[in-house]
Symmetry: D2
Subunit: 138 residues, 4 copies
């Protein structure tokens, strides 16, 4: 079994190689086989015309958290095959947190769920719900 901190560090190295994740400022705050937590400080650049997080930022975070959950569950190189997201509330506040979990894992795919929370004044509010399929790379 891999040491939890080593596992998290490995995940962070992958994130550091994703130029887009760096552009957005995503941080991997927790990682275990089949579970991942990604965070993002809500800078002005990540917003849309109404002052809340652009939907694309929320879906990026959900997509990436789903991939981490599925990839660590399967322990092979993976890609996101598909996902679905419901936006529930405007992403308002200082920070977004996505928590994803692999619900069913086979040799070829993991089906995962994700909740995205917006954190305002320290309180988390659920702002999106996602479900998707992560598959073994090619």
């Amino acid at each position: 079994m891999v040491d939890p901190q080593v596992f998290l560090n490995m995940g962070r190295e992958v994130l550091a190689q994703q130029a887009f994740s760096q552009l957005l400022g995503a941080e991997l705050s927790a990682l275990a086989p089949g579970r991942a937590e990604l965070q993002l400080a809500l800078r002005e650049q990540l917003k849309q015309q109404n002052g809340f997080a652009h939907g694309g930022v929320i879906s990026y975070l959900a997509d990436n958290a789903l991939t981490y959950a599925g990839g660590t569950a399967m322990q092979v190189p993976v890609v996101t095959s598909e996902f679905k997201i419901n936006y529930l509330r405007p992403g308002l506040g200082e920070r977004l947190i996505a928590r994803a979990e692999a619900v069913h894992v086979s040799k070829t795919q993991a089906v995962c769920r994700c909740e995205v929370y917006a954190v305002a004044d320290g309180a988390e509010k659920l702002c999106a719900l996602a479900q998707g399929t992560i598959v073994k790379l090619g």
Copy 2:
């Protein structure tokens, strides 16, 4: 009826107000009631560790194109309620193009479809397929 160029310019003003769309470099290349085309030059910053467009970039483009298609179909302020996306091919090339269309429109919502293409050496290849619901704001 609004002049097509005026309509497109109005859409571009909305895009110019989305800080996140500016960060990514999205351009609105066509707009008509119920139809939208968004493009993005694939800079290094929009890629992931394998050298192709990050899934979050593709889903951003799909989400935003769906919203434009739904919003121009309904002609009221809207938000994306939910969408689903299937990634079909790696987003490789110089550019991404998303084309969305409102398939069914009611007073309260528009259900829209979107195709995202990657353009390499001038040839378009379909790289994602999305379907979602755009709803009247609040």
Copy 3:
């Protein structure tokens, strides 16, 4: 507050009025605001050519459980607006059980999740995962 048994009985009356649910033999085994459990004995008529539950039976059960969860959360007449389902395992065994829950509820919609289990020799196995939007009727 409504008595739990009265609440369940009201839900069963609705189910009794759905000719299709009667054709399939669905039973409402639990109901509370925002939560529902539907069951189905897996008769031969509900199967496909490989001997397991037809996907349409599983999606029927998920769809209906989502609607009950959303409808009891909102306490107004509702319809399913959209849903997504991932099939995880063949539906093999004597019985299917769908458990749904409203995760986020507003005045106009409820976003719900559902798990569908196949019961073989008394053991439950997760066979599908769904997420959908239930909206206020008309």
Copy 4:
């Protein structure tokens, strides 16, 4: 190349083996590689309490049409991995028709789209839109 009528007949044999499709009365009205059309007469038994087609009937038809489109595109035994459906209008009338098409096909999967129409007094009205993934069996 297979004769079109022979191809359609092969598809009808598969449908005849699906007990659930027989229970519902589904008919395969057109079939070609990557394309399928399924129909259903709207008997009372397929309705819900409001007098229109139960959502489960519409999703059954979409799911099955997606599977035929994907299976004939891939020409191997397949199952539906996942799909998403948006209900657009009540399914009112004499008949439902689902038309599905494989949009992208690889060795392991086909991503397909489907439209479901309700036919009343001979006029077709779009009542649902679906998108899903069909995968090679086992």
